[in-house]
Amino acid sequence: MDPPPGPRLIPVLLLLLLASCPAALAWKKDEFRNCIQTPFCKRARTRTPHSLDAPLSVDAGSLYVTPDGSLTAVLSHPSRLRPLLLRLSALPPHVVRLQIDEDYSANTPPHRRFQVPDVLLSDVEARTLHLSEPKTAGAVSTLALSSDLDVVVKHDPFELTVRRAGSGDPVLSFNSHGLFDFEPLQESKPEGETWEEHFRSHTDTRPRGPQSITFDVSFHGADFVYGLPEHGSTSLALRPTRGPGVEESEPYRLFNLDVFEYLHDSPFGLYGSIPFMIAHGDGASSGFFWLNAAEMQIDVLAPGWDGAASTENGRIDTLWMAEAGVVDAFFFVGSEPKDVIKQYISVTGTPSMPQQFAVAYHQCRWNYRDEEDVAGVDSGFDEHDIPYDVLWLDIEHTDGKRYFTWDHSAFPNPEEMQRKIADKGRKMVTIVDPHIKRDSSFHLHEEATAKGYYVKDAGGKDFDGWCWPGASSYPDMLNPEIREWWVDKFSYQSYKGSTPMLYIWNDMNEPSVFNGPEVTMPRDAIHYGDVEHRELHNAYGYYFHMATADGLLKRGEGKDRPFVLSRAFFSGSQRYGAVWTGDNSADWDHLKSSIPMVLTLGLTGITFSGADVGGFFGNPEPDLLVRWYQVGAFYPFFRGHAHHDTKRREPWLFGERRTALMREAIHMRYSLLPYYYTLFREASVTGVPVMRPLWLEFPDDKETYNNGEAFMVGPSLLAQGIYEDGQKSVSVYLPGKELWYDLRNGSPYKGSVSHKLEVAEDSIPSFQRAGTIVPRKDRFRRSSTQMVDDPYTLVIALNSSSAAEGELYVDDGKSYDFEQGAFIHRRFVFADNKLTSTNIAPDHLGNKKFSTDCVIERVIILGLSSGAKKAIVEPGNQEVGIELGPISLRRSLSSVAPTIRKPNVRVVDDWTLRIA
C-alpha cells in the first residue's frame, strides 16, 4: 500500500538540491530591459557613423558671444520645427561646458525638456569665463579658452573638439563620428504612430513621444576609460562593449534599480548613476560628464568599431544615449588624473566632511530585533574588546514599516536605548525609506495626501506602488517645498524617540517599487513642474538623500554634521553623505568586485563608500568573512551588514582565532583613523578620494592602469585584497621607483616590481610607501569617541633620499567650526635627520580655534640606517631616547624599528625632532 519510492524520493531530493543553491534562482535578467528592448537605445545603437540624412549644423551667422560671456549658436536642421540652441561656456580651470536645447521661442511645445536642477553648484554660472570672440575660418570656428586650451567648432556637420592650444593635440571631441542625434519634441502624435511602449505586463504611455539624444565622444590619448557607476565589476577600467575582437555586451546602463542578488560582473544598471567618465593614458587624463537624469546607455567602443582601417593611437570612442533631457555636457581637460576629478568636483561639489564616528566601524544587520538584542550586541563588542562606533536598525524597528515610528513591543524605550549606547560614545542609525505606507492612521501619509505631496501617476492620482509596507506612495522630492516639509520630519518633536545620537539610513530610494516596471516607478509618473519620472529617474534618490541630510542639518541647528547613508545616488550625492554598494552576496567574487566598485565611486566624486562587509545575501564561510573584514577595514565606509535569513555573524561568533583576526582588522582601521580623517579632509576640499586607484598616485606607471585588485588609501598606503579561498600566494604589483614597507613587519619591497608574496592569515598584503609619514593612534578604545585624547604614533617610511612627509588634520570631529578655522592641519617633513612639524592651516578662514593636548608618544622610522640612540626635541633642547621598538603593538608580531620614545610633543605646536 505504500507508494513506490520513486515519486516520493524525487521531490525530496529536488527540494534538498534547490535548497542548497538559492543563488541559482537569483538575478532575473528577464525583468530588466536590455538595449534591444529599449527602443531609443536600439535605434541609436544600430546607427552607423555619419549615416544621418541631415546632420545638425551650425548656422554660421548665429555664432556670437553673449553678454554673459558664453558663446551661442543655432543648430539647424531642414526638417525641424524648431532649431536647437547651443551654448558653450568655460569654467576655470579647464572645464568646457556644452549645452544644447530646443529653441522654444520659435515654437513652444506643450512641455519643455527637463534640465536637472540643484545638482550643479549654484555658483557655476557665476564662475564662467568671459569668452573672447571666436575666430572663424571657412566652416570652422576656433575659440581660445586659455593660453593652453582652445575649442574648435566645425559647422557642418556640427563637431566640437577641445585641444591643447600649443600642440594642437585634441583631448576630447564631440560628434567626430557624426552620431549626434536629437529627437525633437513633437506637438502631437503623428497619425498612425504609436508612442506606447510595453515591457512585460507594464505599459509606458509615453504621452510626450520620442525625445532621446545620442552622441559620440572621443577621448584622445587614452588607454582606458573609467567611471559610470554603478555596475558590478571585477575590472576597474570599463571594458569595451562592442567592436572588433570584443565580446559584444550590453552598453553600460545608467538606470537606478533595486536589483535582487545582482551580478558581480555586469554592465546592467544598479542603484545609482553618475554619467561621468574619466579617461587616462600615458599622455594625460581627461573627463566627460553629461548632466542628465534620464535613462542612459553608454557604449565603450573598441578600436576599429567604426570600420576605420587604422585608428589614432590611444583614442577611445564612446557612444552616449539618453532617453530624454537636454545636452548639458562638461569636458574636463586634466591633465593629471587628480585634476580631472577636481574639475568634476568644481561643478558638482565637494564631498561633505563626515563626523569622526562615521569614519569608524559600523555594525548592522537586518535586523537587530529588540532593545535586548541591541544591548547584547553592544556588550558583545565590549566583551571581546572590539571597538565599534555605530549600531544600525533596519526596517523591522518600525511600527509596520511606517518610518519615523517604533515597533513599541520590540523597542519600548528607544531614547533610553540610544542613551545607553551613547554612554559609550557610540551612535545609532535608523532607516528611513521613501515609500510611505498608505494607511489612513499614519499621520505622515495623511499629511502628504492632504498637501498633494506624492508623485502622481500618469492619470494624475497619487502614485500607488508596492514596497515593504504594502501599498505605498512616494513624496515628490523634486519639489523644494516638499523637501522642506521632509526636512522638518527629522526634528526631535516630529521624530518621536529620536535623539541627537541618532543618524539616518536611506534605502530603496532608486526608488524601489516592487510592482513597478523593472522594480521601479513607471516612467510616465508625474513630478513637480509636470516633469515625467523618466526625465529625472536617476536623480530621485539624490533628492531624497539631500532632503534627509538637510533634515539632520536642521535638527542639529546647523552645528552637527549629518550622517546619511544612501543606496541610490547621482552626481552630487557626495555633498549629502555616504553610499554603499547595495545588496551584494557573501561570495568571493563579490568581495573582489567591491574594490573596483568602491574605487569607481571614488573617482566619480563619491569618496565615502563601501560594500557590506561579509556580503548581504547568504552566509559567508568564516574565512571569507575574515578576509572581508581585512579588506573592508580599508573601505572609506566600513560597515558589516547581513540579510535576515543569514546566520548571526558578529565578529566573535567564529572561534577565538577568527575573532582575533577580525579584531585585528578593526583595530587596524581604528589605529589609522587619524590618517583616514586627514584624507577625508583632503577629499572634502579637493574631491580626491580617500581610496584611490594606483594610477591616481602613479599616473605614469602603465602597469597600474587596469589594476582593480590593489588600491591606495591616500598617497601613502597600498593594500591588496585576498579574493580566493585558501589562497597560498599572491602577486602584488608595487608601483613607482621607491621602496614599500610591509605594514605588519616593516620589511622593505622594491617598487615597479610584481612581488609574489606568501599569503598571511592575519592580514591582507598592505604597505607604506617610502617617502611618507602616516599618523596613527595605537591605543584601542570602545569607540573612536574615547580616542580623542589619546597620543599619536607617527610612522615614517624613508625614501631613497632619507626623506618623507605627511599630514595630519584634526578638528572637533562633529561640528562645522572647522569652516571658521577651528582645526589643526600639520605637515610633517623628515629630511636631513630632522622631523619638523609645521602648520599648514590657512589663517584667513575665521576666528574659531581648535586645540588639543594630544601629544606624539612614538615616532617609528622605517629605513633609518644610523644607529642613533637619541633625539633632541626643539624647542626646549630636551633629549629623548631612540630604541628599537615594535612596529605594531600586537603581541603576535615582534618586528622592530628605530623608535623615538616619548618625545611627547603636542600636535598643535611647531617643533623639530633632531636625530643626534
Partner: protein
C-alpha cells in the same frame, strides 16, 4: 544612615584623590612581587624593561607587562581592587577612557570622568544575588538527588521490563508462527475449494454459452473474474485491519489510558506511523510530491499575469524569503503554511531507506492502530501535562508531577507484568485448543473453525506487535544519554577542574523523557519535549523546530536539529540552555538568527553540588573583600 552616607563619601573621595603609586597601579596583589626587581622581564619573554618604565604610559612589552596601570599597551589588563565588592580585571583599553568601569573608579584616575565609588552597594547587591543563587542551588541539589534516585529506580524497572518483554516476545512469536502456518493451510484449502467451484461454474457457464452458440467470451470472463478476485483481496485486507483493531480492543480488555501509555512511550514510532499512515489512510502520494515544489518556487515563473499587488508581494518576497501571499516580511506566518511539508517527506525518505522490510500485514495494521492513539496523545495528554507544569506553581510541583509519572509506570506493569502471565497463558491455551480441534483434511472447510484460526492469529499477532512496539520504545528510550556518564566526569575534571563527582551514571535527565515543557511568547507557544522534538505552535498549526539531537556543552544545553526548513534559510533548530532552578521552566525563547532558536530551561537537574561549592567559595571571596570595608 548618615554614617553610611559619610562613609561612602569618604570612600569615593579617597578613590578620586589618591591614585595608587605607579609601581602597584593596575597590578593584582598576588603579582606585585613580579615587579619588584630593577629589571623586569616581559612575561612573554619578548624583552625586558627597567623599573622606571613600569607604568610610564609607554608600551615597551607588546604583551602589556610594563603597563598594567595605563592604556598604553593594547593587550594589557588592569586590575581594580573594588574593595567592598569583587576585584576585576579589565582591558587596558578601558583605562582613562572617560567611562567608569571599576566600581571603585580606579580605572579613571587620569581622565575627566568623575566616578563614584559604587562598590559597597554593588557588592551588597551582588552578594545578595549570590546568596539567593546559593539558596536555589541548595534546594535544587536536594531535588536533583531525589530525581536521580527515582531515575535509577525507573531505569532499572524499564530495563527489567524490557528483558521480560523480550522473552515474552519469543514465546508469542512461536505461537504466531504456528497460527500463521495453520492459517495458510486453511487458505490453501479454501483456495482449492474456490478453484474447484470456479471451474464448476465455468463449466456450467460454458455450457450455457454453447447453448447460446454465438461468440466466445471466455477470455473476457476469466479476466473479469481475475479483477474481481483482486478486488476481493483488497477488501479482505481492509476488513482484516478493522478486525484486527477491534480484536485488539476487545481482547485486551484494557482501558484506553493503558493503551495510551503504551504508545505514548514511543515517539519515534508515533512519528513514523503518522507519516506512513498518511498515505495509507487518505493522502495520495502526489500531494507529497506536489507541495515541496510549490514551496521551493514561491515565485511563479510567469509573473506577467499577476495583479499589480501580487507582483509587488512577489518581488518583495525575494528579499524576505517569504511566501508571496504574506503582507510584510516581519510576519512569521509562513511557518504555518510551510510546516507540514518537509518533515513528512524527509521522514518518508528515511523510512524508505531505513526500515528493513517488515512483515507487511502486521506492520501496516499496527500503524493505523497507533495513529489513533497518537491522536489521543496529542489532544488530551499534552494539555494535562502542561497544566501540571505551568498552571500549578506549587513548591511540591515537581513531586506531584513525579508521582503522576510513577503511576504511569505502574500502569505499564499492570499491562505487561502482573497481568501478563494470565493473558499469555490464555493465548497459549487457546491456540493449543484451536490447533487441536481444527481438521485440515475436511472439505469443504469448516467456516467457523477457519474464522477462529484467523481470529486467534490476528489477536496473537496484534499482541505481538504491541509487545514489539513496547520493546522498541523501551530500547529507544534506554539507548539515550540521560546524564553524567563516566567520560563526562573525566572531561569535566579536565575542563572545569572539578575535583570529584558522584561516580557512575546519574541519569538526572531520565525523567525528562516523558515530559514536555512549554513557553508562551507572543502569539506562539513553544513546546520542548526532550529526547523527542521541539515545536512552535500557533493556533492549530505547528512548526517543527527540530528533532532531538544531543546534549551539548557538558549537559549544559539540549540541541534539537533538522526542524522544518526555512525558505531561503536553514532547517530550523533549537538550542535549549539549561540552568539550575527549582522548577522545570522554559522561558526566554528567542530567534537570534533566522530560524535558529534558543531558549532557557531552568531545572533542578542542573543544580550540581560541585557548582554549589564553587558558588559558596565565590561568596566567601566576595565577603572577605567586603570585610576590609567593614573594618573601616
Amino acid at each position: 544612615m548618615r554614617l553610611h552616607a559619610l562613609l561612602l563619601l569618604w570612600i569615593s573621595a579617597a578613590a578620586a584623590a589618591s591614585r595608587p603609586p605607579l609601581d602597584t597601579l593596575g597590578i593584582p596583589p598576588q603579582d606585585e612581587a613580579y615587579f619588584r626587581g630593577g629589571v623586569i622581564r616581559c612575561r612573554d619573554g619578548s624583552g625586558k624593561f627597567t623599573r622606571d618604565k613600569l607604568n610610564d604610559d609607554f608600551c615597551d612589552c607588546t604583551d602589556g607587562t610594563d603597563e598594567p596601570g595605563t592604556s598604553a599597551c593594547p593587550e594589557g589588563k588592569f586590575y581594580c581592587q573594588n574593595a567592598g565588592h569583587s576585584p576585576i580585571t579589565i582591558f587596558s583599553s578601558r583605562v582613562n577612557d572617560g567611562i567608569c568601569d571599576c566600581c571603585d573608579g580606579s580605572d579613571e584616575y587620569g581622565s575627566n570622568a568623575t566616578c563614584k565609588n559604587t562598590c559597597w552597594e554593588a557588592g551588597k547587591a551582588a552578594r545578595e544575588k549570590m546568596k539567593k543563587k546559593i539558596a536555589t542551588y541548595k534546594s535544587g541539589v536536594v531535588i536533583r538527588d531525589q530525581e536521580v534516585e527515582k531515575a535509577k529506580v525507573a531505569f532499572a524497572k524499564d530495563k527489567a521490563e524490557l528483558t521480560k518483554l523480550k522473552s515474552e516476545e519469543k514465546i508469542l512469536q512461536g505461537l504466531v508462527d504456528k497460527l500463521k502456518e495453520q492459517k495458510s493451510l486453511i487458505e490453501k484449502a479454501e483456495e482449492e475449494e474456490r478453484l474447484r467451484k470456479e471451474k464448476e461454474e465455468k463449466r456450467v457457464k460454458e455450457e450455457a454459452e454453447k447453448q447460446a452458440a454465438n461468440e466466445k467470451k471466455a477470455p473476457d470472463a476469466s479476466q473479469e473474474v481475475d479483477s474481481q478476485k483482486t478486488h476481493g483481496n483488497v477488501q479482505e485486507d481492509e476488513s482484516k485491519v478493522a478486525d484486527h483493531h477491534d480484536g485488539h480492543a476487545s481482547h485486551e480488555n484494557q482501558t484506553p489510558e493503558n493503551e495510551l501509555s503504551v504508545v505514548q512511550h514511543d515517539p519515534e514510532i508515533q512519528d513514523d506511523t503518522s507519516i506512513k499512515a498518511g498515505p495509507v489512510d487518505e493522502s495520495p502520494p502526489k500531494d507529497t510530491s506536489a507541495e515541496p515544489t510549490k514551496e521551493q518556487e514561491p515565485t511563479p515563473v510567469n509573473s506577467e499575469d499577476l495583479s499589480r499587488e501580487e507582483l509587488g508581494r512577489l518581488v518583495a518576497s525575494r528579499w524576505t524569503g517569504e511566501k508571496v501571499d504574506e503582507v510584510s516580511k516581519d510576519d512569521k506566518k509562513e511557518h504555518e503554511a510551510e510546516h507540514d511539508m518537509p518533515e513528512p517527506s524527509e521522514e518518508a525518505l528515511e523510512d524508505e531507506l531505513d526500515v528493513p522490510e517488515p512483515a507487511e500485514d502486521s506492520y501496516s495494521g499496527y500503524r493505523s492502530e497507533v495513529e489513533d492513539d497518537r491522536h489521543k496523545f496529542d489532544d488530551e495528554d499534552f494539555p494535562n501535562e502542561s497544566e501540571d507544569e505551568y498552571v500549578d506553581d506549587h513548591d511540591d510541583h515537581v513531586e506531584s508531577y513525579k508521582s503522576d509519572d510513577d503511576q504511569k509506570a505502574d500502569d505499564h506493569s499492570d499491562l505487561t507484568a502482573s497481568g501478563q502471565a494470565s493473558w499469555l497463558d490464555k493465548i497459549q491455551q487457546t491456540v493449543h485448543n484451536v490447533l487441536q480441534t481444527f481438521n485440515f483434511f475436511k472439505t469443504p472447510v469448516d467456516l467457523s473453525e477457519a474464522s477462529r484460526v484467523r481470529k486467534e492469529y490476528d489477536d496473537a499477532s496484534s499482541k505481538l506487535s504491541k509487545i514489539q512496539s513496547r520493546i522498541s520504545t523501551l530500547t529507544d528510550k534506554l539507548k539515550h544519554d540521560f546524564g553524567w556518564s563516566t567520560w563526562c566526569h573525566t572531561a569535566m575534571r579536565i575542563f572545569l577542574s572539578y575535583r570529584s563527582h558522584k561516580q557512575g551514571k546519574e541519569k538526572e535527565f531520565y525523567y525528562f523523557y516523558d515530559r514536555c515543557f512549554e513557553s508562551k511568547e507572543g502569539k506562539y507557544t513553544y513546546k520542548v519535549c526532550p529526547f523527542k522534538k521541539a515545536s512552535q505552535v500557533e493556533g492549530h498549526s505547528s512548526t517543527s523546530l527540530g528533532r532531538w539531537d544531543k546534549f551539548e556543552e557538558s549537559y549544559g544545553a539540549m540541541e534539537f536539529s533538522n526542524g522544518d526548513k526555512c525558505w531561503n534559510g536553514p532547517d530550523r533548530s533549537l538550542k535549549v540552555r539549561l540552568r539550575c532552578g527549582l522548577n522545570n521552566e522554559l522561558n526566554g525563547v528567542d530567534e537570534p538568527s533566522r530560524c535558529e532558536y534558543v531558549a532557557v530551561l531552568s531545572t533542578p537537574a542542573l543544580c550540581i553540588e560541585e557548582k554549589l561549592k564553587e558558588l559558596k567559595q565565590k561568596l566567601q571571596v566576595m565577603s572577605s573583600n567586603q570585610a576590609g570595608h567593614d573594618e573601616l
